[in-house]
């Protein structure tokens, strides 16, 4: 199946990603940020200074103890920072050695066994459920699973290149995902050669067009709209390949093929680093002069962070623009009681997938009208899906944050 997304916006991107493979790079530090697991009450399973192997559990969800987060690399725990409400704020590991936990694969070909294995090995958090874009409950049953093997964000690595050499793992991972659902597994990819063979319950869907053609929200709204009673899950292609690796070798592989790009880099780079890699250390020798912001994620939807997020496959360096000192009178004139209204131009209409009434949805979100936003399809969306809308309204309102607030309201209801 081929779906041409005629909406979307061409984004200005300076500099092409380099040809050639992803360069394996060691990092001095790995960080696991609590921001990736928002909403999770963490129960720590390690202490500072303890030695861990790749795949050994670090912490788990207090309410759903099956969901564990495991170490992406062997080494020892350097620091654990606890934030408000005793939630984890940051956990750092100094990587050393090549130890890896081995997992028992005996039951991995049954649905229950596969779930248990993914939860043990720390691959369960790779799945996210729509509505709400959260880690799914350990016993939840999705009506479809989306494998996102296309990325249209600016400077995103090409999935075909990133899967080079691990195509078998990817195919094995996709096969395994079909055990988790009674419904379809959709492999959403770009217009290249098929990444996996189409089978009874595995369909390959090609998407073409500008961003947001490569976002799961677009795919889900188009192919299988999620509802409260019929949630769908999505997972990115590198995590699907990691699942395949786990099933083949019995060890978890948390390496990521990422791009490190953006206007703040002398040259864009392709790197193979562990999840949670220290982006400051990776980018520092290659930055252009001047103050910078290092983002985990793309320049469009990334967030400022020192460590690569679990859900990001790229990092960006952009110039830090400090607010200018303006004349007090001019500053007073331009300061408003409310953020400036967004103008529903033709560009705004192109920011969400073809099935979304973009302007009414953004209006509902910007006043926090949860019920109306749900009617307009916000249950299909995650924060990433609204980054383009924020871009196309001049960055005045962060619609991703508004969406999260609305989703939290709906989830609590």
């Amino acid at each position: 199946m081929r779906i041409d997304i005629r909406h979307g916006l061409p984004l200005p991107v300076a500099g092409a990603l380099p040809e050639g493979g992803f360069i394996p790079t060691r990092v001095p530090k790995i960080g696991i940020s609590g921001a990736d697991y928002a909403g999770m009450r963490t129960e720590l399973l390690v202490t500072e200074g303890q030695t861990v192997a790749c795949g050994s559990p670090l912490f788990r969800d207090r309410k759903r103890p099956e969901i564990t987060i495991t170490a992406p690399s062997s080494g020892h725990i350097e620091r654990i920072e606890i934030g408000p409400q005793r939630r984890l704020s940051l956990l750092t590991i100094i990587p050393e050695g090549e130890d890896a936990e081995r997992f028992d694969l005996a039951a991995a070909d049954t649905p229950a066994g596969l779930r248990a294995l993914m939860q043990q090995a720390g691959l369960w958090p790779a799945l996210r459920t729509r509505p709400f874009d959260r880690i799914p409950a350990p016993d939840a049953k999705p009506v479809a699973v989306f494998v996102t093997a296309i990325d249209t964000r600016p400077h995103a690595p090409d999935p075909v290149m990133a899967l080079g050499g691990v195509e078998d793992d990817f195919a094995r991972g996709v096969d395994a995902l079909s055990l988790l659902t009674q419904g379809q597994v959709y492999v959403c990819q770009d217009d290249g050669p098929d990444l996996v063979e189409t089978q009874d319950r595995i369909s390959v869907v090609r998407f073409t067009g500008f961003h947001p053609a490569g976002l799961p929200g677009t795919h889900i709204a188009r192919l299988h709209p999620a509802t409260l009673n019929a949630p769908v899950w999505h997972i990115n292609y590198q995590d699907a390949a990691a699942l395949g690796h786990l099933l083949a070798h019995g060890t978890a592989d948390f390496s990521r093929n990422i791009s490190l790009a953006g206007p703040g880099m002398q040259q864009p780079r392709l790197l193979r680093v562990p999840m949670g890699a220290d982006l400051h250390a990776l980018s520092r020798p290659h930055l252009t002069p001047g103050p910078k912001r290092i983002l985990s994620g793309s320049a469009l939807d990334g967030r400022e962070a020192q460590y690569l997020s679990r859900y990001h496959l790229q990092a960006s360096a952009i110039d830090r623009v400090e607010p200018r000192d303006r004349n007090w009178f001019i500053a007073a004139l331009s300061r408003a009681s409310a953020p400036a209204a967004f103008i529903p131009t033709a560009a705004v209409d192109r920011t969400l997938g073809p099935d979304m009434p973009a302007v009414p949805l953004l209006r509902a979100l910007s006043i926090g009208d949860a019920e109306r936003a749900a009617q307009l399809g916000c249950l299909q969306l995650g924060e990433d899906d609204l980054a383009l809308a924020t871009y196309a309204t001049g960055g005045e309102t962060d619609f991703g944050a508004w969406l999260r607030a609305v989703l939290d309201t709906l989830e609590a209801a």
């Binding site: 916006l9 984004l11 600016p154 709209p225 999620a226 509802t227 409260l228 009673n229 320049a299 469009l300 952009i318 004139l333 331009s334 300061r335 408003a336 009681s337 409310a338 400036a340 209204a341 967004f342 103008i343 529903p344 131009t345 033709a346 560009a347 705004v348 209409d349 192109r350 099935d355 979304m356 009434p357 302007v359 009414p360 949860a370 019920e371 109306r372 749900a374 009617q375 307009l376 399809g377 249950l379 299909q380 924020t390 871009y391 196309a392 309204t393 001049g394 960055g395 005045e396 709906l410």
Partner: protein, 260 residues
């Protein structure tokens, strides 16, 4: 990373697009146009200042667009106190009390002009030359390329206009030679804020507005007179929310009933 479509940038783009048409029209209508423009701008600026200090609503360059539209489309022998009255009504009731440009339901220029036409019907207003129509057409191209004007409105409005003109047994090419009419189509009916905001809604809105222009023009005011396009814009923007509601009902039928 942020795009160019901030509220202020969009209004500057519209101002830039309007300048050639403004120059062409003031060549056409003479020095009085500049006078009307100056008075309208001063009045709108005053009210923006009042709302800046009382309600913290920032100033917007859209005042220039409203003032130019009023100067060109109120082309008759309008007294300046009439402009003061109408522009005050238009900018306060049409725009500022809703929270400023971007939150309004009807275009401030349209309200101002409708006020002038209704309150002072004895003043006769004339249209402008095809040169203004050409300048407004070029402006439409600029607005389409910069992603401000929706192509759906830009296509549907002329189609609606031509079809309704044919239905009334008139020459379908005639409206496109009228400067005021084309200017109104681009800047009043095509205003992104007060037009419909869904894809199907925009098509329906454009067609409705175009047809209303033809009906008002041929059946009442005369196709060259600016009244036709102003009243069509007023009526069409009042219908826009209804058209949007219908379009949304169709577009979201897939997941309606799931929640709420």
């Amino acid at each position: 990373m942020r795009g160019i479509w901030h509220r202020d940038t969009v209004s500057w783009i519209i101002v830039a697009a309007m300048l050639p048409a403004a120059v062409a029209a003031s060549l056409d209508l003479g020095l009085a146009t500049m006078q009307r423009f100056g008075v309208a701008l001063a009045v709108i600026g005053f009210w923006q200042g009042v709302f800046l200090f009382t309600r913290a609503q920032p100033l917007s360059p859209i005042a220039l667009v409203t003032a130019i539209a009023v100067a060109i489309l109120a082309s008759g022998a309008t007294e300046m106190w009439q402009i003061v009255l109408a522009a005050s009504f238009g900018t306060v009731i049409g725009e500022q009390i809703f929270g400023g440009w971007g939150r309004n339901v009807v275009n401030a220029g349209v309200v101002t002009l409708a006020f002038l036409y209704f309150a002072f019907p004895e003043v006769l207003h004339s249209g402008t030359s095809p040169l203004v129509a050409v300048a407004a057409g070029l402006a439409a191209l600029l607005l389409l390329v910069t992603g401000v004007l929706s192509w759906r409105i830009a296509v549907a409005a002329p189609v609606g206009l031509v079809l309704a003109t044919l239905a009334l047994g008139q020459d379908p090419a005639a409206p496109f030679l009228e400067g005021s009419l084309v200017l109104g189509l681009v800047f009043l009916i095509g205003d992104p804020v007060t037009s419909a905001s869904t894809r199907m809604g925009r098509l329906a809105y454009g067609a409705l507005a175009g047809a209303l222009v033809a009906i008002f023009g041929w059946a009442d005011a005369g196709i060259g007179a600016p009244q036709a396009v102003v009243f069509a814009a007023l009526l069409a923007s009042l219908f826009a929310p209804l058209l949007d509601a219908a379009a949304i009902a169709v577009a979201t039928r897939k997941w309606r009933g799931g929640h709420g």
